[in-house]
Point group: C3
Chain length 140, copies 3
């Protein structure tokens, strides 16, 4: 069994933004030499997501508006108890649950086995500081 571990560092200047990380993940797969296996990609922070969807800016704006509606940003300690700890990012912990922590992608014939429109995104919900994404590949 082969394995590869890679940590990507994300620096997102906005509070909420989505970043296409498919090229970095595909690169890690190539370096791993794995032909058949699984590739886990996960946020290592709990106010961020890794998810797969369409690389279409209009959809990303829709997601942002929708997530803001489901879990509005509100730094006050009134709406969210979490913000009584001195944090202002309770909303980000909620948004991340909707979008998910991780994806697992098949590796087939040495490549990520993605559908035609599948793109891997890092989803930031409390940016403006460096955060890490883990890529773990196992297989043969």
């Amino acid at each position: 069994m082969k394995s590869l571990t890679r940590y990507l560092t994300m620096n997102v200047p906005a509070r909420m933004e989505f970043v296409n990380i498919s090229p970095q993940v595909e690169q890690a797969v190539r370096e791993s030499g794995v032909r058949e296996g699984l590739c886990l990609v996960n946020a290592m922070h709990i106010t961020a997501s890794v998810f797969i969807n369409d690389d279409e800016p209009g959809l990303h704006q829709d997601y942002k508006a929708w997530l803001e509606q489901l879990a509005p940003f509100d730094p006050s300690p009134d709406r969210y108890r979490h913000n009584r700890t001195g944090e202002d990012n309770a909303d980000a912990h909620h948004k991340r649950q909707v979008m998910g922590r991780e994806v697992v992608v098949a590796i087939t014939n040495g490549r990520l086995d993605l559908g035609p429109w599948e793109t891997i995104f890092y989803g930031e919900f409390d940016g403006r500081r460096p955060k890490r994404v883990l890529v773990k590949i196992i297989g043969e």
Copy 2:
């Protein structure tokens, strides 16, 4: 390490529907010969889900009503910017995020290690054309 890759083609005539795919996944596990391992099942399209829940028609109706409330179908370009591209399926991209892209199931003693009520479903949110599901099995 053994591995098996299988693509299922789904033809769902309705816009939104849930289809039990546990038998096809179980069959792939048998063919793989894997006794201990992991089985990834994911939608290869970004307006569809694979998820695990109860095989109960009333619950499925509840899910449909609830998803319609969380992200209503609306082909106009007013509610969803994604629909300014000529698409009418922005709602489907949202519904899929709530229900998830994939499941990873343990294989133990050559079988899917599912709880008593766990059933694997394909969730279609923009049907009426063929779409694919990927089953990837690795183990020994």
Copy 3:
């Protein structure tokens, strides 16, 4: 390839509660002897979740209030068709979809490769009876 299968039994006296299961999962990883691999942790019941987020009681109260808003408990058969079957837990099936069924965590150098604040939780949405969590480890 090495593998380990462990079933944890959860007894949660409340209807909705979150339980930190990171120590039990870390213990399973140690026992497996796996240095590089993947660890799947999933609820075996369809009214429960396994998810990763912050071990902060205020946030957990926020999650409970938010999930109650997204999918309110209502045992009547009026709101949820699922409750026409004699069940009263349709809301729990919805809450579980928001929080997810499973997490997959990398194992690196013999340890769960978690970010500094990542904690693995069992999420119970229809408690007061024993339920199981599956831990499946594969690697080398």
